[in-house]
């Protein structure tokens, strides 16, 4: 696997990034835009042209400097502590945000991949998903928009084709409507497209299953090789994961053994939390074809997927008497080695909905102080460090580690 593909896919599972922009908020010249009302194209449209729309070809070279990007979703609360929406900020790695917008409470973000993020938002009547160029120098524009009268709960872009997969719920009943695929060429025209008109069924609606009960959360995630899209729907105690072969359209369901949230999808296997009641919790590997299960950690409190030596591994944080340890675990065979935790830093806890994402080079991950809370970036004093798992090299999170020598 080339590093390029790995980087492209690493964005989704990793929640790591850092920038050196003013902690006070948006930089000069960047206006805060409210997108609570999700009018399509509320974000500035990207200029059209041969370099503007499409997608990098398969096996494309590493994104040029400035193409790596980050995003954060920060909660917006009213005076009583009720979530009233989110603040989406995003920009090229190691630079201030190029986008700073307010969106409603039913919003999400995915990516970034090759400097492109996906932002979804809803106003109670219409959902909009924007494909946003955040990594390009001077960018911060919406490449494409798609709208739906149903509720868009998640969307993810296939970096290889530019296709966007959209998961929706019925607005009235909140029943699962499955996943549709919007071809990249349908999005390249510049105008907002109606998902009902252009979406192709990709994964059918989730059938009811009393073993799982009502669905609490659905999230999509790409495999490290980009060939498979996981659509994971979690009930109160366990999740079921449907795997879409992006090339053939075949769908495989993994609902046994019971498992928790995905950490990654590696070599045809789910790397996931066990269906635990709380933390610490096991981390397991489930072969999607056979259901064979192995244990990658007996008790972990945090985990992230990273590249390293050309193959994906997970870094797990495990409690030990009086503290914790970090271990680098190969999901293929559970072999592991201990990682030094500089300055007692920890993995960023991020089990739930995605509130941050970044494209870091192979093997890099972000560590934060134990008392760190919420997605915090830039000159935040709690920013922590970037750590390269291969050689324990560290970098200031305000830098682009690509430039670390």
């Amino acid at each position: 696997m080339s590093e390029v593909r790995w980087i492209a896919r690493l964005g989704a599972p990793l929640v790591v990034a850092s920038l050196a922009f003013a902690a006070s908020g948006a930089p000069p010249g960047l206006g805060l835009v409210s997108l609570t009302a999700p009018a399509a194209r509320a974000l500035a449209a990207c200029p059209t042209g041969p370099d503007a729309g499409g997608a990098p070809a398969h096996g494309a070279a590493r994104p040029p400097a400035g193409r790596r990007a980050w995003f954060t979703l920060t909660e917006r609360m009213d005076a009583r502590g009720t979530l009233v929406g989110w603040r989406f900020r995003s920009g090229p790695l190691a630079t201030p945000p190029t986008i700073d917008v307010e969106v409603g409470p039913e919003s999400f973000a995915e990516g970034p991949d090759d400097g492109i993020a996906v932002l979804g938002r809803d106003d109670g009547a219409t959902s909009v998903v924007d494909v946003i160029d955040v990594g390009g120098v001077g960018s911060g524009c919406s490449r494409a928009s798609a709208t739906s009268r149903d509720v868009i709960r998640d969307a993810i872009r296939d970096a290889a084709t530019g296709d966007v997969f959209v998961h929706r719920l019925d607005r009235l009943t909140r029943a699962d409507l499955g996943v549709v695929r919007i071809r990249g060429d349908r999005l390249a025209g510049g105008a907002a497209v109606d998902i009902d008109a252009v979406g192709e069924p990709a994964v059918p609606p989730l059938p009811a299953d009393e073993r799982f009960g009502a669905t609490w959360a659905t999230r999509m995630l790409s495999s490290t090789d980009g060939r498979t899209l996981a659509i994971q729907s979690c009930g109160a105690t366990a999740c079921r994961t449907r795997l879409l072969d992006v090339a053939t359209g075949g769908v495989t369901t993994v609902d046994e053994p019971p498992h928790g949230e995905l950490i990654g999808l590696v070599d045809g296997a789910l790397v996931a939390w066990a269906a635990c009641d709380g933390l610490p919790c096991q981390i397991v590997r489930i072969d999607a074809a056979t259901g064979a299960t192995g244990t990658l950690s007996d008790a972990a409190t945090a985990a992230v997927l990273v590249g390293g030596d050309g193959r994906p591994r997970i870094v797990v944080e495990e409690p030990r008497a009086g503290g914790w340890t970090l271990a680098l675990v190969d999901p293929a065979d559970a072999t592991r080695r201990t990682l030094a935790s500089p300055n007692g830093l920890k993995l960023r806890p991020h089990r739930g909905g995605r509130t941050e994402g970044a494209e870091l080079p192979n093997g890099w991950l972000r560590l934060v102080p134990a008392d760190s809370s919420g997605p915090a970036w830039g000159t935040d004093a709690n920013a922590g460090l970037l750590l390269r798992t291969d050689d324990a090299r560290t970098a200031d999170p305000a830098t682009d580690p690509t430039e670390v020598r």
Partner: protein, 353 residues
């Protein structure tokens, strides 16, 4: 109602009886209820006082803080065991926060992390207004008039603090009124569904806490979730004036590796009767209810023995707690001055039959 017997209890009890040479335990059928499973990890110390404070930068809003403190009081008040007690302490290591989107699984109203036990724990609450696939989360306490479908933050808080003290999720039936058996149901009930605002541990939660942390006193009642076998022994003292004998019964919990700290506990303050029958008879009659003895789990009675009779002590299975009754081995007692094997009057000894 289904009944069953814990199979592996039998050989353990039998082994104890044989080795002691003087006790037999009767294990009655028990309810199918089983204690809430443990979450796992290092337990707290018995009666450990564990403080918590609000996480800086993620402080629960003013409407939530009283509910969390009430949940801690609920835990302390209904633990019925020596489980850790919880209380707000501004300098504590343990943190409670209002930032679940980053700390909890995406399918959680709130979550707990007890990996820091026995030093600390964390609990995080999901934000009011957070949107799940099924709809928008509303905490009842956030509203002057509670909205239909809201969740009680105190009930959920007690559930999370249950995790903190090592309770896992209850997997028993939730049909009918069974939700009362455990606050640790995987899904909390929403207002106004019955049970939406439970503020005490259920009996199956208490059953595990008692196994993990032991009883507060030897006379405290055992949870009715599951069953705990007992062992009764009986001994007779030397004959006194007018042929009186002092019988001493000892009641304790039987050894069982599955009941944790409860094994071998003295059992005090129960109703233990002393019974006798004429030699050769099959009919027992109750002579007296034995008084509490000088040591934990002991019961004493002094009665006149005027003829050779069989004696036993009986602890009947109580209807209001989870102990299983037991009966001692039979003592054959004769009106003789000797106790034990009496060389001068063989056959008239006191001893197990």
């Amino acid at each position: 109602m289904r009944w069953h017997v814990i199979p592996r209890l039998w050989p353990l009890v039998a082994a104890f009886a044989l080795s002691a040479g003087l006790a037999v335990t009767a294990v009655a059928p028990v309810l199918a209820l089983t204690p809430t499973p443990p979450l796992g990890g290092t337990p707290w110390l018995q009666d450990q006082r564990v403080g918590y404070r609000w996480r800086t930068g993620q402080v629960p809003p003013s409407w939530l803080q009283p509910a969390i403190n009430a949940a801690a009081a609920d835990s302390n008040g209904s633990r019925a065991s020596r489980a850790a007690t919880l209380a707000y302490d501004g300098s504590a290591l343990s943190l409670i926060s209002y930032d679940a989107p980053t700390r909890c699984a995406s399918n959680a109203l709130a979550c707990a992390d007890r990996s820091g036990a026995p030093s600390s724990f964390t609990v995080a609450y999901q934000r009011n207004g957070y949107v799940f696939d099924w709809g928008t989360l509303r905490w009842c306490q956030a509203y002057t008039t509670r909205p239909y479908g809201c969740f009680d933050a105190e009930t959920v808080g007690l559930h999370e603090l249950g995790h903190v003290v090592d309770l896992g999720h209850y997997s028993g039936s939730v049909a009918g009124s069974a939700y009362l058996d455990s606050i640790m149901q995987p899904v909390s009930r929403q207002y106004p569904t019955t049970g939406w605002n439970l503020h005490t541990y259920g009996r199956c939660d208490v059953a595990l806490l008692q196994r993990l942390y032991d009883m507060q006193t030897w006379s405290a009642p055992y949870s009715t979730c599951g069953s705990v076998a007992t062992v009764m022994t009986l001994a007779a003292g030397t004959a006194g004036t007018g042929g009186s004998r002092t019988f001493t019964a000892t009641l304790k919990v039987a050894f069982d590796s599955t009941i944790g700290k409860l094994a071998d506990n003295p059992v005090t303050g129960r109703v233990v009767t002393l019974q006798r029958r004429a030699s050769g008879s099959t009919t027992w009659s109750t002579v007296t209810t034995m008084a509490t003895g000088p040591t934990s789990g002991s019961y004493v009675s002094t009665v006149a023995v005027t003829s050779r009779t069989d004696w036993r002590a009986v602890f009947a299975t109580p209807p209001s707690e989870g102990l299983v009754g037991s009966t001692s081995t039979i003592l054959v007692v004769s009106p003789t001055a000797c106790v034990g094997v009496c060389a001068s009057s063989p056959g008239l000894a006191v001893g197990p039959r």
